[in-house]
């Protein structure tokens, strides 16, 4: 029942993920941060098989940090995404594949450009302006298509995400009460407060 959304503008990316950890019909936790920070300018939200998510995310975060230590500069978003895909593709063809879906967003300070990548558990990658994984995707793509504009601002993007959550609250069987939102732009990574965000979401 995971919800993972992402929107990229020209110079920023916003990622959204729910905070719920579930096991069968039980909710284990309500406040899990599912958006992992790889460097100052790259973050990713991960969903899928519970154990795989942690193992794979930690592996990728660890490698991104190791690269930064070794090379005195951070791994840029595009390279980060290709690396993540590659590792997933190699694992897929081994005895221990990972079942994880990833949205990776970041800002490249050299190119002054933001990118959002959608990677699924079969290691398919695409560079997209907006993306969703899981059940949320069924409800949100039509909203993205209708509301997305090429020159949208950070605030516009948050409004679109709020519209998506309103729609999910209205039509999706599962309801979440809180979300993690992270914005990445030239200045780095910023967290949008859940309470602030929920003010934009229509209540039913």
């Amino acid at each position: 029942m995971d919800i993972q959304l992402g929107i990229a503008g020209k110079d920023f990316v916003v990622l959204l993920a729910d905070k719920q950890i579930i096991n069968s019909i039980m909710t284990i936790k309500h406040n899990q941060d599912k958006i992992y920070e790889l460097s100052k300018h790259v973050a990713m939200s991960v969903s899928g098989e519970a154990g795989d998510v942690d193992t794979y995310a930690e592996y990728i975060v660890g490698n991104a940090k190791l690269y930064a230590f070794r090379n005195d500069h951070e791994l840029p978003i595009d390279s980060c995404a290709k690396f993540t895909r590659r590792q997933l593709a190699e694992a897929l063809r081994s005895r221990s594949p990972y079942q994880v879906n990833i949205l990776m967003g970041g800002y490249n300070p050299q190119l002054e450009k933001a990118s959002l990548y959608r990677i699924d558990y079969l290691a398919a990658i695409s560079n997209v302006p907006f993306a969703a994984h899981g059940y949320g995707a069924f409800f949100c793509y039509s909203l993205f298509d209708r509301l997305y504009k090429e020159d949208l601002t950070e605030n516009d993007a948050v409004q679109i995400l709020a519209a998506c959550i309103s729609e999910l609250d209205k039509r999706f069987v599962a309801r979440h009460s809180s979300y993690t939102l992270k914005v990445i732009n030239k200045a780095g990574l910023r967290i949008i407060d859940n309470e602030e965000f929920l003010k934009h979401v229509k209540q039913f």
């Binding site: 070794r70 090379n71 500069h73 595009d78 390279s79 290709k82 050299q110």
Partner: protein
């Protein structure tokens, strides 16, 4: 003295030196000269080929300068067969980086890799060190144009203008004198090409200044992407005619 501590590569002498490594570096001082100069718009590399016989088929271009990747070019001094192996390794490493990260390899990372391989042979016994030094010229989006020198011990250092091989110390002092390093009028690409020719013409026999004995290569940016260019025989002769000859004319007048 010698013979006691230099029979094995990995044995320190009482003064704390590794003789085999020092001999390898000495071998490079007898190899053909390689010069490279960094400028704002690119890097020029030039290498001297030491011809052994006129029967040698010199129509095969490229002996001392190799393209490693789209953003990297290297000039080698020392034992060519040793260098070949390292060039091959570097090309492989660049491609491996491309396949992992879908991006051109940062210059320093590649140089670090060559040097790690070289260092390995100074520490683990049974094999001799590589008798080859490199001048690696490259570009990456993080740092821009860079020029590195490597030695058989596995050290590397970054330079604005560098020289390895025979007469490298006199070439180095010439470069030090002539390299313009002030902010107002930095070295242009043309300046560096001229300076390379000038230094080459001073340290090698002027009768040898032709495409038979010299190789040139450059790395520049074309539409924001790095481009390695290895000069053909005719381009080399043109460059030498333009710069090296004019210098000679002036000095004889």
């Amino acid at each position: 003295m010698a013979r006691r501590y230099d029979s094995r590569t990995t044995i320190f002498s009482p003064e704390g030196r590794l003789f085999q490594v020092e001999y390898a570096m000495e071998a490079i001082n007898h190899a053909g000269t390689v010069i490279a100069i960094l400028s704002d718009k690119g890097i020029i590399l030039s290498a001297e080929k030491q011809q052994s016989s006129k029967l040698l088929d010199s129509s095969i271009e490229g002996e001392k300068i190799y393209e490693i990747n789209s953003n990297l070019v290297a000039g080698v001094a020392g034992i060519t067969s040793d260098a070949n192996l390292l060039i091959n390794e570097s090309r492989l490493f660049s491609q491996r980086y491309l396949s992992t990260y879908d991006d051109i390899i940062p210059v320093e990372l590649l140089v670090k890799n060559i040097c790690d391989v070289k260092q390995g042979y100074t520490q683990f016994g049974g094999l001799r060190p590589f008798g080859a030094s490199f001048l690696v010229a490259g570009w990456d989006p993080i740092v821009g144009f860079q020029l590195y020198q490597t030695d058989p011990a596995g050290n590397y250092s970054g330079w604005k203008a560098a020289c390895i091989g025979e007469n490298s110390s006199s070439a180095q002092s010439l470069l030090k004198q002539e390299y313009k390093d002030d902010q107002d009028s930095p070295m242009t690409f043309e300046d560096s090409l001229e300076l390379v020719c000038k230094v080459m013409s001073k340290i090698i026999d002027s009768s040898k200044l032709s495409s038979e004995n010299l190789e040139f290569a450059s790395i520049t940016l074309v539409d924001g992407a790095p481009k390695v260019h290895i000069f053909s025989f005719s381009e080399t002769d043109q460059v030498l005619k333009k710069y090296a000859a004019s210098k000679n004319d002036k000095s004889t007048q």
